[in-house]
């Protein structure tokens, strides 16, 4: 028997303390988090509870103060910046609250670039880009420049870009913050689809529609995990329709 594969993410007593003008600000206080391959984890919690800091550390964008980060069974918190950059390019897709698309490249090139950098052929990169933009309702925006897009469109392009090289880990920080409900539906559909195909996802979100798709919800408060588990069981009386959730006055 081969040993079970290591978790995609494993943090051990992870701590981040910012210094704010000499005053220590504890943002993450001893987080132990294991995420198995293929799992979709939603991270929730009030503003300031350390959600962004946590996912930034897992992606190597923010240095830990103490503790360990293991990715795919390899120690990562001790890597230097260029080693982190390489690891990210190969294994991690990121979506941020702010989208940082490359301004002087078209939408199509923005999405294809990570796949090309990770070694995909131009044709593979193009097909993947067409699929992703299509799913997100952006097929006709491929030749636009990012500045020509509305906020919600840029947000979706950023998601497509993060998924372009089929990363082993998708990290996302409030990726539906700027979306109206129709666009959110497109994003939800794509997320379910890539998750069904085995994509591992850690996503900070306030959006209950997004979180309800997750296998597991981790709640942070004041930098600590206060709840971690599967989304609750469905209704006690299973029904063909959720009609009784939608209450009309009779």
């Amino acid at each position: 028997m081969s040993p079970p594969p290591p978790p995609i993410v494993n943090t051990v007593n992870l701590v981040k303390i910012y210094q704010n003008g000499g005053v220590p600000v504890p943002a993450v206080r001893g987080v132990d988090l294991q995420v198995e391959a293929g799992q979709f984890v939603a991270v929730m919690g009030p503003s300031g509870s350390g959600k962004s800091t946590l996912v930034h550390m897992i992606g190597g964008l923010d240095a830990r103060t103490s503790g360990e980060i293991w990715l795919d069974g390899k120690r990562a918190d001790t890597l230097n910046e260029s080693a982190w950059a390489l690891l990210r390019r190969q294994k991690i897709g990121f979506v941020f609250q702010f989208f940082n698309l490359v301004a002087n490249m078209t939408v199509a090139d923005n999405v294809e670039l990570p796949a090309l950098l990770a070694g995909a052929s131009p044709r593979e990169a193009r097909e993947r880009r067409e699929y992703l933009l299509g799913e997100l309702g952006l097929a006709d925006r491929a030749d636009a420049a990012p500045a020509q897009l509305a906020g919600g469109e840029q947000q979706r392009v950023a998601l497509a870009r993060a998924l372009a090289n089929r990363p082993s880990l998708l990290l996302a920080d409030e990726p539906t913050g700027n979306l109206d409900s129709r666009n959110t539906r497109d994003v939800l559909r794509l997320l379910s689809e890539v998750h069904r195909d085995g994509q591992t996802i850690i996503m900070v979100t306030h959006d209950a529609r997004v979180a309800s798709l997750a296998d597991r919800v981790v709640s942070l408060l004041d930098g600590e995990i206060v709840d971690d588990g599967a989304v609750g069981p469905a209704r006690r009386r299973p029904r063909a329709t959720a009609g009784d959730v939608v209450e009309l006055r009779g």
Binding site: P46, A208, S212, V226, V231, T241, A242, G243, V245, R249
Partner: protein, 168 residues
Amino acid sequence: MRQSLLALLAKEPAHGYELKQALEQIFGSAYPSPNIGQIYVTLSRLEKDGLVRVVDVEQSNRPNKKVYYLTAAGREALDVWVDEPTEGPRVRDEFFMKLVLAPMTGIADRMALISRQRRHYLALMRDLNELAERTDQGNRVALLLIEGAMLHLQADLDWLERCQEDLS
């Protein structure tokens, strides 16, 4: 259901089964499908209140059909209902009462209550997601109902987070 039956009858007279079908067609799976018994009970109450009246229509080869139509009083009741502003959503939430009163019982840990409630809301949200997916995308009314329920649930979750920040 009283008002929806009055509204349907304002369009045209109908018998009980036609009313049931019309409700199902308008609201789709987002509305708990009324059973025919409930419809007849409601119709007979409306009749007693003078808001609808019933006539027997003869049919060849079949028993008579009871066709209901709206009276002038029914029309007025419907207009009043449509014109008046509608109550806002509930604020005296039962969960909130539990949360506030929990320490007095000495058993419940507030944080545990909040976490369990959050998971429950998310499970409800998942049901709604699935319902939205199963719903005919052409049925605007049903989809809007579902979206409304989702937005309420989102507000409940946001409020839960506020409770967690301030009460823990």
